[in-house]
Amino acid sequence: MDMNVPKKKLSLKEKYSHMTRGLDWEPSYQSKDDVYPYAKYEGIKIHDWDKWEDPFRLTMDAYWKYQAEKERKLYAIIDAYAQNNGHLSVTDARYINTVKLFLTGVSPLEYMAHRGFAHVGRQLPGAGPRVACLMQSIDEIRHAQTQVHSLSNYNKYYNGLHDFRHMHDRVWYLSVPKSFFDDAITAGPFEFMVAIGFSFEYVLTNLLFVPFVSGAAYNGDMGAMTFGFSAQSDEARHMTLGLEVIKFMLEQDPDNLPIVQRWIDKWAWRGTRVLTLVAMMMDYMLPKRIMSWKEAWEVYFEENGGALFKDLARYGITMPKCIEDITKEKEHLSHQAWATFYNYGAAAAFHTWTPDEDEMNWLSEKYPDSFDKYYRPRLEYWRDEAAKGNRFYNKTLPMLCQVCQIPMLFTEPGDPTKICYREAQYKDDKYHFCSDHCKEIFEHEPEKYIQSWLPVHQIYQGNCFPEGTDPTAEGFDPLAAVLAYYHMNFGRDNLDFEGSEDQKNFDAWRGVATSND
């Protein structure tokens, strides 16, 4: 026996192939359609799953090794940050409101991504994408948990984070991110991949994480910075999966192009609408600003996304139609969004405020064409009224868009003084939209969006009061009942930052921590 013949050294690619697609086989005791029942109904034609190019070739042993190293580092920092009262080193307590928005709005989506990728990984009949999807699934539960664990310490000292899971399923503005992900996961597996893997991860996630995380670093939040960057290190794998899926579908059959293009158009818009919250966070909620929303959009979408769509042009893919309107909106988005939360500051689980003079000047400088003309007068009026003890709290519920579920706050593309109204009739009912794009999405799948759980309408139907509430009883206070249903504590979680418990505690604690007596 020739024991000493040196073995042929396999390349990374060959080895990885044995470790993934080599494991798979064509079933014969059950039909392939029964094993993968969701693979065909969307109309995507795949002829040869073996043509799939694995983007990163990470086997499980390497995965465990590197991920454990990341986790060790991350939890060491989380522990140190908690032990040293790291929360007192943030620029000022207003910053903590970004963290509240993140935990209530984003972390539950990470969890949804975990379950969504488990589902899609189970359903895609190719071994390559299955492994990549399942790896993403387990990464996403990581993100949800590291966020909860990092932010757990803030919850101990500040208000508004205390029941984030309960709130995510109920609170009016959180139905925006929730419905976004519900929409993606209820679509077929291929659309999910375009929605989350491509549009969100590849095209938009940089806009969520890089500014948020750099913003955290800039504002002294080492905890959030660390989980943020640690999560991003997985995103690189996720992004390449998203891009690979698009290329793969387009290369498999020319009939896939119009379907994929429609999904890209839809999800670029859905995703950008969700990022409205990020826009306002960057321009209004970070006490020390890193870059404006408009600048972030230009770097991460116009420049980077532009390169991507130029590259995809060879498949016939074009830039989503909505980009033209988004480009017009970038001057206005953050201001209109912040104004909305300022309006409804009594029903939000974080604090709102008017920017101080320096901050307004920064906004003027960053938005020379829009801020002074349209938004400064609004903010100054509110500031002056608040100083007179007449802080504005809008107590009448807003009209919502049927698709993105955001209050109808967006203005006509090109005219920031006119609210953009669109409507459609479907069967016996009228439906209203914030934009042409949301309307188009509805008209393509009305059966889906007529189911939307619109928070305002649900309140009026009487579905958002604590169990046992009698709305006909004398002295019934609907706002109080809705906040009770949300598990929001009036006077602690909501209202203006000025005078809040967070503000008082932070000042007192930091005083103790930085004084020498």
């Binding site: 390349s11 990374l12 690619k13 990470l58 960057f229 290190s233 995103e235 690189a236």
Partner: protein, 89 residues
Amino acid sequence: MSNVFLALQANEETRAIIEAITEDNPHAVVHPSPAMVKIDAEGSLTVRRETIEALIGRSFDLQELHINLISLSGHIDETDDELTLHWNA
């Protein structure tokens, strides 16, 4: 040709990686920002194992990049020796 980019956390481990990348990619432009470094390069960008190894004095598995990677753009080609990002158009 469009830019590809690679963003890494800024720390002791990535110092040598960034140095190696700039050595191997003279056309790359390094942008430091809080806690991270973004490297832009027109057309393509290559990370070479051997260059990194020469700088750190130990063997380096290119998959170790994952630990400190923040984001990237472009198509990826990965071998035992090189990781390349590129656009086709």
